[in-house]
Symmetry: C2
DNA sequence: ATGCGGTAACTTACCCTAGGGTCACTTAAC
DNA sequence: GTTAAGTGACCCTAGGGTAAGTTACCGCAT
């Protein structure tokens, strides 16, 4: 903890402090949601006061957007890379999960920012989050289509539903993981492999 | 809508008005979360003002608890009844889904109250919600255990994870359903049957 | 080496509004 | 005329947002 420094201490360069604040913000927004999170609490976590937070990010929305863009871009890039590698449709879900777990091992709340229901219904945040969700949903839809056509189930609305359920599965796996900090990405991936094997009879 | 009545109109009996307010509250809390929902907005939906809401429910927490208890008891009772009927482990998930869809066809937001991350971390609401979740999780755990032991997968931690994923699946199905008001409970159940058939190769 | 400005990091103390919560009152119905 | 349904107008606090100042560091000229 940066702590008990005298007033006016220079502290650390802006870039580094911003990174700290984005990490703290991601955790707090992820935990309590946009509406439930408090700016002073986020500042306090880093050992700094609110005005600095506002100087760097302008507003609560500004901070949220910074957190959201970091989470969203890392997520979409990671998933895009994994999907681009291709492979058996049956194997894709596990590969994608593995990529997500590895990327967010030390940042487990990030995923939740894209699916926070408490952000204002209109505005920059809603638009940005919807955009990231749209991109991820497109991947999910692609994966679901490949998986289902390989099994002769082709109703497009069913496939939409499957894609959404898939994101819900990721959601709940991450929530479960958040509550078990000792389980690392590799263990989590292995667990999912085992579970899917058992459930789908592979 | 009860609308444009003159001031001081007797209106309707308390019981009926309370029921309306609980319905409106459930929708608003479900949509925006505890932290994001506004009491005046909930009153406005019913065509009434805030003081009446407070006279009947005492506080925001009081209203939330009323909504939560209605949702939670209906849910746990419905699931308990369905689980008590017994049947093939493979068939239970669909039976439970069917019960949930039927019970909440006209009250689709109710499910979300049990899983709202924006309620204060301590206090009556958190305790009550945790209790309902605990009961539902126990059913999920039971179902997951039966399903998995029938397939020779017995790691208890894996089963915990499966149970949690199951609740996440319900969550995302309901979210998907909320966005498609024309799909009724029967259609939703049929869709799930089709999807599970395709995915699990039944 | 020292003093001295400029700048960047950071704070204290404040403003302002949204929204939770209350009071005193009005009117319809029996 | 008593009671229950309902209201307009208010209070108060939490929390988003800001203004003005304080201190440390760095580069530089002497």
């Amino acid at each position: 903890m940066t702590e008990s420094r005298a007033v006016g201490t220079k502290g650390m360069p802006r870039e580094e402090r911003e990174a700290q604040l984005v990490v703290a913000g991601t955790e707090e927004f992820g935990r309590a949601g946009y509406a439930g999170a408090s700016m002073v609490e986020i500042a306090r976590r880093v050992g700094v006061t609110k005005p600095l937070l506002y100087q760097y990010f302008g507003s609560k929305d500004g901070l949220y957007l910074a957190c959201l863009h970091r989470a969203g871009s890392r997520l979409t890039e990671g998933v895009a890379t994994t999907m681009a590698e291709g492979g058996e449709p049956d194997q894709m879900p596990l590969k994608v999960l593995s990529a997500i777990f590895t990327t967010f091992d030390h940042d487990r709340y990030a995923w939740r920012l894209l699916r926070d229901a408490t952000v204002p219904a209109t505005g920059d945040i809603a638009a940005a989050a919807a955009d990231y969700r749209r991109r991820l949903d497109a991947f999910a839809l692609l994966g679901a289509t490949q998986l289902m056509t390989s099994r002769g189930l082709a109703d497009p609305v069913d496939i939409e539903a499957i894609a959404q359920v898939w994101t819900g599965v990721v959601d709940s796996l991450i929530s479960w993981w958040i509550d078990r900090p000792d389980e690392d990405a590799a263990a989590m991936t292995a667990r999912c492999a085992r579970i899917m094997g058992g459930l789908f009879g592979w």
